[in-house]
Structures are given as structure tokens and as C-alpha cells.
């Protein structure tokens, strides 16, 4: 099976969908000539031309707004917001217009758009370029939120998102772009709302997503060396959420560790914890643990940045705490 990079998987998904459906087009800052800040749209303009691969002005509001309009007019835009930190400038267009128009127009319109963006720390590019803001969008009825951790998931999920008639936020991770993984050359789709079980175990459930899913898996490996077997779940999709996968695992293990690169306070995993409490309270043998980023702007210093986001050793410590083995 071919082994390709995460960013190549994204690009391939875009190219395949654009070949398949002439209504699909790409727009964003530096997506055409430059090929994307992280090379995710490399060479697309050469194949599809400037009308279908459009460099925009530096205005996230315009990018998102134009995507809403285009989508309502019958196109299927895949617009890019270069850093999830800049989604703030696109909020009204995405959360109030894209998210709610189908409902408020009584079903007479749909907004089939994908906003591709990326977030996460690790490049020491500081507070405005390193955040994980998915919690804000899970909190908006009408949009879906997808966060793949592997090249395989990126490609299969992006294709599904493009074919979906809803507005979807597809959040990549800047530290994952050059990761390699097996990706079939034949077409495949991954349905929304299905998590992936990366490891199986009986002692504790560790749930993560995006780059933190990889760290969760790493933690699972290291815990196994210490005689602790962990169920490791990669959510892949925050909304719709595969809550059944999580519940089945918690009912088996009784212990849960939630990992997210978002700030600790008001983190998306709090929603997951609450759902587990609602549906599996009697199966919990220990309080639920969460391992999240510190409640402070992401530091620029490499040492502090590393300390501010969840490290594998912190995930391991949390798992051990659930077992009373602090």
C-alpha cells in the first residue's frame, strides 16, 4: 500500500473530489500559487486552474462569507482558513450564517461547505498561531467538527465532508502534515461520527483526538510495559461524536482519561465526561481525568510550549491516578 504524507492525503482528497464534481472548488490565502502555507494544496492550481483554485484577499470574513454564498448558490466550496486562531474573524459567517441558514430558511437552502483549517502547538509560533479552538464550534448547532490524526483518516474524512451537505469545520494539525501513513490508492470514504480504536485493553480508557490521539497511543504503549492495558480511542470526529464507542469502553474498564490540546477550562472533553457521567455513571470506578493544555496563551519558548500542552508522560500519570497508583 502506498505510504504518503498527511498533507498529501489532504491534497489527494481535494483533487479527487474536484475531478469527480465540477461544483467543488478551493479558495483561501496562498492556496493557489504558493500551494498552501503547509503545502496541502500543492499543484492543484496547475491541474484545475485559477477559477477553481482561488487565492483570496487576507480577509477570513470574506473567505467564509463567500463560501456561504457560493454554497447557497449551488457550489461546493472547500475554503481554507490558514490558522484556526483566525476563525474568530470568520465566526459570524460560519456560526451564524452557514450554521443556521438551512434552519432559518425552512429547509429551502443548504450550505454544503467545508472550512479547512489547522491548529495546534509545536512550532513555537506563539499564542495567535498555536491554539486548539474546536470547543467553540462544537458549541454551535448546525456545524460539524472533524479532526483527523492520520493520513488515512484525513483523506477518507475530507472526501466525506465534501460530499456532505452540511457546513463542516475540518481541523488539521500543523505538526501532523509531514507524518506518513498508509493510504490506499483505491477510493474509500470514512463515515462521520465513527471513532477508531487504536489499542485494546481492560484497565483504563484513554480518549484523544488529532495530535493528542497519537500521544494517547504512545501512552498506551508505555503503560503496557508497566503492566497496565489501555483501550485507546481516536475520536476522529468531535461532532457527530461516537459516544457509544466511548461508553462501551468505559463500561469495560471503569476508568477514563480524556486528552485534548484545547485549554483545560471549558474544553470539549468536559462535554464527553458529562455524557459518560449521564450514561455510564454506575460503571465508573474512579473519577474521570482530563489532560489538557494549560489555561494560558500558548507560550513561544520551546520549553514552555512543551510544558503547556499535554505530554505523553502526563497522560500516563493520569491513567495511573485512575488506578490509584499515583
Amino acid at each position: 500500500m502506498p505510504v504518503i504524507m498527511y498533507r498529501e492525503a489532504v491534497r489527494d482528497a481535494l483533487a479527487e473530489e474536484m475531478r469527480r464534481d465540477p461544483r467543488v472548488f478551493v479558495m483561501g490565502e496562498d492556496v493557489a500559487i504558493y500551494g498552501g502555507a503547509y503545502s496541502a494544496t500543492q499543484n492543484l492550481v496547475q491541474e484545475f486552474g485559477e477559477t477553481r483554485v482561488r487565492d483570496t484577499a487576507i480577509s477570513e470574513m470574506a473567505i467564509a462569507g463567500a463560501a456561504v454564498g457560493a454554497a447557497m448558490a449551488g457550489m461546493r466550496p472547500v475554503a481554507e482558513i490558514m490558522y484556526v486562531d483566525f476563525m474568530t474573524l470568520a465566526m459570524d459567517q460560519f456560526v451564524n450564517q452557514a450554521a443556521k441558514n438551512r434552519y432559518m430558511f425552512g429547509g429551502k437552502t443548504t450550505v454544503p461547505m467545508v472550512l479547512r483549517t489547522e491548529g495546534g502547538a509545536g512550532r513555537c509560533i506563539a499564542a495567535h498561531h498555536s491554539q486548539s479552538l474546536e470547543a467553540w464550534f462544537v458549541h454551535a448547532p448546525g456545524v460539524f467538527v472533524v479532526m483527523p490524526a492520520t493520513p488515512y483518516d484525513a483523506k477518507g474524512l475530507l472526501k466525506t465532508c465534501i460530499r456532505d451537505d452540511n457546513p463542516i469545520l475540518f481541523i488539521e494539525h500543523k505538526m501532523l502534515y509531514n507524518n506518513k501513513g498508509e493510504v490506499p490508492s483505491e477510493e474509500y470514504l470514512i463515515p462521520l461520527g465513527k471513532a477508531a480504536v487504536r489499542r485494546e485493553g481492560d484497565d483504563v480508557t484513554i480518549v484523544g483526538y488529532s495530535r493528542m490521539a497519537l500521544r494517547a497511543e504512545e501512552a498506551g504503549k508505555k503503560l503496557a510495559d508497566q503492566g497496565i492495558s489501555a483501550d485507546v480511542i481516536d475520536l476522529r470526529c468531535l461532532k457527530p461524536l461516537d459516544i457509544d464507542c466511548i461508553l462501551d469502553s468505559v463500561k469495560k474498564t471503569g476508568r477514563l482519561v480524556l486528552v485534548s490540546e484545547g485549554y483545560k477550562e471549558g474544553n470539549f472533553v468536559c462535554e464527553v465526561a458529562m455524557k459518560v457521567m449521564e450514561f455510564a455513571f454506575d460503571y465508573l470506578d474512579a473519577p474521570i481525568e482530563r489532560v489538557c493544555a494549560a489555561n494560558c496563551p500558548v507560550p513561544m519558548s520551546p520549553v514552555l510550549e512543551d510544558e503547556a500542552i499535554p505530554r505523553t508522560d502526563k497522560i500516563i500519570a493520569a491513567a495511573k491516578r485512575t488506578l490509584g497508583k499515583a
Binding site: 454506575d282 460503571y283 465508573l284 470506578d285 474512579a286 490509584g324
Partner: protein, 444 residues
Amino acid sequence: MIQKVILPKLGETVEVSTIERWIKNEGDTVAAGDILCEITTDKATLEVESYYRGTLLRILAPPGTELPVGSVIAVIGEKGEAIPQDILAQAEAAGKAAPAERAEAAAVAAAVEAAPAVAAGRLVASPRARRLARELLIGLEHVRGTGPGGRIVEADVQATAKAGRAVRASPLARKVAQREGVDLASVRGGGTGGKVLKEDVLRAARAPAAAPAGPTAKAGQVIPLTAMRRIVAERMVHSKRTIPCYYLEMDADVTDLVALRNELNAKGDGGKISFNDFVLKACAAALRAMPAVNSRWVEGGIERRGDVHIGLAVGLDEGLIVPVIRHVDRKSLRQVSAEAADLAQRARSKKLVPDEYQGGCMTVSNLGMFGVRSFIPVVNPGESTILGLGAVQDQVVFRQGSIEVRKVMSLALSVDHRLVDGAVGAQFLKMIRDGMEAPQRLIE
């Protein structure tokens, strides 16, 4: 910088305190506000906070030592800092004084660890453990918790189940054991090959209640006195020796009181009002109306108390404590009820501060729930009277020319004859009785 941790004076009349256990250990980092250790004074357990930030360099008072307030019990400073010789020397001298207490405290600590996970009166168990215990018909009070803080976790219930399964018992016997709260492992089986049957379990259930968690006593073994036991003994001897008592008995018709209580509790707003709460209000009114009774014997004469504070006796496994509700006359029935409930709960978990069990003007003690018809209570030194309540019983009485069945309760008042003469005492009791028989006035 070296900082001394001083044994604080947590109560106006406290002279000495005993170190119960250290929460922080030598070498631990402490922050201002962290709890360093637990101490007991009289009957209450209290926490000592750190005023300083640093490393706990040395513990100078091990668990079990009783020291005068103001003693240095520990030293906080920077890691590696040298501790001044004079502090160490002083601590050594004080420490030599109490080897016996240390042994007792160690024994108590060990017993507490062996007991089921009852933290401050609450059974702490994870939801998963509770579910399993329900399924397996295991009473959580039989399970020893090994989770953090003594929490019972699933593995603990499984261990108990395994031990229980080792006991051969009929399925019916197991069900009955769970219902009656009997530990199967402690039942002698009368069936074939020692199998435990239902009647064995029922017999064990009817047997006198097991001794509270702790080292079981062998015949002839002398159990050292706990602080509470010692204090209760001293007070009782003092009372009987120095207070010349006489005793008055009266029956109270509490039919209306019971009905009013049920009516108020049916309304459902707020906590449940208990019988004793009404009695407290009746006593408060009587104390207010008769200042001669609300007095105490002091050097130089008889002190009129003025304020009305009443104690409510609470029985504990290891003894007796009387939390005091202050200014009962100024508070509404509901306020008194809430306060009494809160004090009783904290009394049971030994979390009262000295001010909460001292300073009463009289005490009310109720043994009715055990079926006692009437009893003669012992006057608390420092108070003038104590009221003993018996069980409420349906009795046939002659009332207003006809025979009726009414609810009757026995009241017994023990009175210090130095302070209150017979006629005055009788009037006082009558006032309480009349108050209980016209309960509507108590809630105004």
C-alpha cells in the same frame, strides 16, 4: 528561614492537645494554608494549618503526644536548612513525657485503617463498586476500601465476594444476610458440613450488636481510655459527688405534638423537624420564664445565666457528647431544628469545636428511640438541670370525663438542689410539660 509550627489554642479553655496524625511528612513541601496535622482536644478533632511556605523539615511531636498549647510541634524552613539546637532540645524533653499516649494513638490509628471506608460518617465507594455490590448482594459496610482515601473500588468488592463465596451458605441465607446486614463470614453454620442456613443468619442478626470497629477485646483485657471516655467518666463522678440532686417525674400528653410535627414535616419545605426540637423550644421558654432555674453554681454564689443555651445529648459509639444550641429562645423552631441536626452530624464525625459543646444552661437527653420508658439522667456539671425523655407510648388515659387512647411520654427532671428547690423545680417541669402539650405556641 526557620519557622516554628506552634500547637494552637483552639478553644478558650483548652490547655493541652494531642497530636492524632500528621498529614504532611518530613521532607514535604508545604504552602500557606496546607493542613499539617490533626489534633484532638477534649472530644473534638481539629486541623492545624500552616502559616508558612517551605519544606517541613522536622516533626517534633509524633502521633500520640499530648502537649501544652503553644508547644513547638514542627519546624518549616528551606530544604537543607539547619534546625536550631534549642528547638530540638526542648522538643525532646516534651516528647519523653508521653510514651503511653503514643502507643494508644498508634493502636487507634491501626484500628481505624483496618475499618471499612467510612470517611467522616460517609461510606465512600465508586459507582462501579456500588453497582457490583448491589448485584452480588454484598453490604458495603463489610468491604474494606483500598482506593485513594480508603475509597471502596470494584476490586475490593470482588475480593469480599471471593471471601464470601468461600463461605458455604444457602442462597436464601445469603439473601437474608444481605437484608439483615450480617457478614456471612462471621456466622456459624448449622447445616451439613457447617453450611450457613437462614436460621443461622437470623440468629446472628439478633445477637447483640458487634463491638465498634477496633481491636476486639479478649476476656480480662484492659482497654486504655480514649480521651472521650476519660472525660465522660470524670464528669459523671464529679457530678454525682458534688451535685445534690433530686428527681421529678411527670408524664406529658404529646398527642398534639406528634400530630403537629407530622403536619409540619408533611409540608416538606426544609429539613425534618424532630421531636427533640419541640422539647428544646419548650425548655427555652421555661428557662426564660424562670431565671432562678437558668443559673449555675459558681465560686462566690449563684450566677444567673441570662442567655438560654441548651445542649442535646448525642450518643456516639465511643461515648457521649452534648453539642450546645445557643440562644434557643431567640431562634425559630426550624432554625433550632436545622442547627441541632447540623451539630449532631458534626458531633458524630467529631468535628465540633470546643465552643460548640460547652456553655449550656441545661441538657435534654432522649432515650425513647431505644424503648426506654423513663430514666433518671445525670446533671451536667456547670448546669442546673437535665431533662430525660422516654419513649412515646400509646396509653389509655382518663381525660375530660372519658377514657381515651393518647400518646404519652415520660419526662424526668434531675435538679441541682443547691440552686433550685423542689417547688421551683416542679413548676419548671410543669412549664415544660405544658409547653409540650400546647405545641402550637412553640412554633410562633
